[in-house]
């Protein structure tokens, strides 16, 4: 991270807040956990994945654990058991889920303590969760802006990004294969690619990581539920406890 020259203290704090907002707009689940395995910081995508309680869940002790296969405490087997050598910075888990659903990819990365003082409250590890079943949420509007797609083309692009076959796309869009083929040809021309898999790769590289539906306004923060439903399990306790008339 690099900050501009002459950045004031107050500004840095604002920027930190914006960093958190950015994390919430990503398609990747992210959790910071402490030494004891407690969850310190959870972004909205991770909250959503945990809320399904399929694959990973939060135990009654407040730690992460796998819901299928041997009940394994992720923390005890990752952070507390880090090998002494400093080369092992991250670990990869494939966490199985209920029948028919693709496994979660979990990457646990050890955090190098920033402060000079030892603090047990500091995050001990960062956990990334990737869910292949999660829709990519690419908004048609932004796809259209980027590549000047028509709305039909943008819809097809979204379905292809989800990994749908061409035939499945036709079915879902209720169009004839010949119509869909025409849309696909236009997609190829507008994005300058030659193949379907190249198109999928390009779409992921250009818009796949950032969730396309930013939640800029929030009307009912007191209840902690946003207009997108369960994506955000927010609480706004400071306002609740404040003396608001």
């Amino acid at each position: 991270m690099v900050t501009a020259r002459g950045t004031t203290r107050g500004m840095i704090k604002s920027l930190l807040g914006l960093g958190v907002e950015a994390l919430n707009q990503l398609n990747v689940g992210f959790i910071a956990i402490d030494d004891a395995g407690g969850l310190l910081l959870t972004n909205s995508t991770a909250k959503h994945i945990l809320s399904t309680r399929d694959g990973l869940e939060v135990t009654s002790e407040g730690t992460l654990s796998s819901t299928h296969g041997p009940l394994l405490n992720l923390m005890n087997t990752s952070v507390a058991a880090w090998p002494g050598n400093s080369h092992a910075h991250s670990r990869l888990f494939s966490v199985p889920r209920s029948a028919g659903r693709k496994s979660l990819t979990v990457i646990v990365r050890r955090v190098v303590q920033i402060s000079s003082t030892q603090d047990s409250d500091a995050p001990a590890a960062l956990v990334f969760i990737l869910d292949p079943e999660l829709p990519t949420d690419a908004s048609s509007a932004e796809l259209r802006q980027l590549y000047q797609l028509s709305s039909a083309e943008a819809r097809l692009a979204r379905l292809l990004m989800e990994g749908k076959t061409f035939d499945a796309c036709c079915e879902e869009l209720c169009v004839q294969p010949s119509t869909a083929r025409m849309h696909l040809c236009h997609l190829f021309v507008k994005t300058d690619v030659q193949r379907q898999s190249e198109l999928v790769s390009l779409l992921f590289k250009s818009v796949g990581l950032v969730r396309m539906e930013p939640r800029v306004t929030m009307r009912n923060s007191g209840s902690g539920v946003d207009n997108k439903g369960n994506r955000r399990v927010a609480s706004f306790r400071r306002v609740e406890s404040g003396e608001r008339s």
Binding site: N24, P83, A88, F93, V95, P96, K205, S206, S221, R238
Partner: protein
């Protein structure tokens, strides 16, 4: 992280008695200021919500660590992230954004730290427009996607602008900041071979092919790059399909992106650990993970 240590005093994360806001977020224990803050709270800004969530009722320095952890994450991502003010000055940028900006291909930063885009992009106008849209609570205009052409002839950079209203009462930061996501479609997917092999049990050759397909290469190009015949490539591809459960090349690419491609971990050494019963591992690997238990006693935070 290149942030001066002395600017990160954490003692200010305590709450104002009047408005309940943390001092860092504007609480001053000053009736007039706090009334103003409460007014702003009523506007229910999402950015404020996030800050409040984080700093929620904690007087220790936990939030600071959490925010730092968040910064660590942003540095690990293969998406460029930057924050600019309304006049287009870059205030914060992560590692990927720095790389893209340093290349000065399409998007660059001037010596004074302002974003510069090629003629015709009207980037500064767009930043101003999205910023104003947020101020006016016009949510339709507060998110803009922009393709920025590059002189080098590479694929255009993708720029996503998202504004958030800043509600701090400090005069120097009481301005609208814009979140910028900068994506480079030409950037290679930062997926390590070992991760692909661990996740799906690919062989080395299969992992190499999978990686090239993720980059958007056609099968012919992959053959050429790997120096193998088409029939060999087809055999590998069939194995990739079998091991991932995908039936088409585009489905395979989509799955690989969704399961591993979105987080860059290249340069980090992942350690295999058996969880659940996903796949059978070679005995040597299991032994390796078991032996790591022995180190539990020696674990210390570095």
């Amino acid at each position: 992280m290149t942030m001066p240590q002395n600017q990160l005093n954490t003692s200010e994360y305590s709450n104002c008695k009047i408005c309940g806001m943390s001092h860092s977020n504007g609480g001053r224990e000053d009736a007039k200021k706090c009334a103003e803050i409460k007014n702003k709270l009523d506007m229910e800004d999402i950015y404020l919500t996030e800050i409040a969530n984080l700093l929620d009722c904690r007087s220790d320095n936990r939030p600071f660590y959490l925010l730092m952890a968040g910064f660590e994450v942003l540095d690990m991502l293969s998406v460029g992230f930057a924050v600019s003010n309304i006049s287009g000055r870059v205030l914060l940028s992560n590692r990927t954004a720095e790389q893209i900006l340093a290349a000065s291909d399409g998007l660059a930063v001037t010596a004074r730290g302002f974003l510069r885009s090629p003629r015709g992009c009207a980037l500064s106008d767009l930043i101003e427009q999205t910023a104003n849209a947020v101020q006016d609570q016009n949510s339709e205009l507060s998110s803009v996607a922009l393709a920025i052409p590059r002189p080098s002839g590479k694929r255009p950079l993708i720029l996503l602008l998202r504004s958030v209203r800043n509600v701090s009462s400090e005069p120097d930061i009481a301005e609208t900041l814009t979140l910028l996501f900068i994506l480079d479609p030409e950037m290679s997917v930062a997926v390590g071979m070992s991760e692909l092999r661990e996740l799906y049990g690919f062989t080395r050759a299969e992992a190499r092919l999978a990686n090239l397909l993720m980059e958007g290469n056609s099968l012919e190009k992959c053959c050429h790059q790997l120096g193998i015949g088409r029939s060999t490539a087809c055999t590998h591809l069939r194995q990739l399909f079998r091991k991932t459960g995908a039936r088409r090349q585009s489905e395979l690419v989509s799955l690989l992106f969704k399961s591993i491609g979105l987080v860059g971990t290249r340069g980090l050494l992942p350690v295999l650990f058996e969880i659940g019963l996903a796949r059978t591992r070679s005995e040597g690997r299991v032994m390796k993970s078991r032996s790591s238990f022995a180190h539990r006693g020696v674990h210390t935070a570095i």
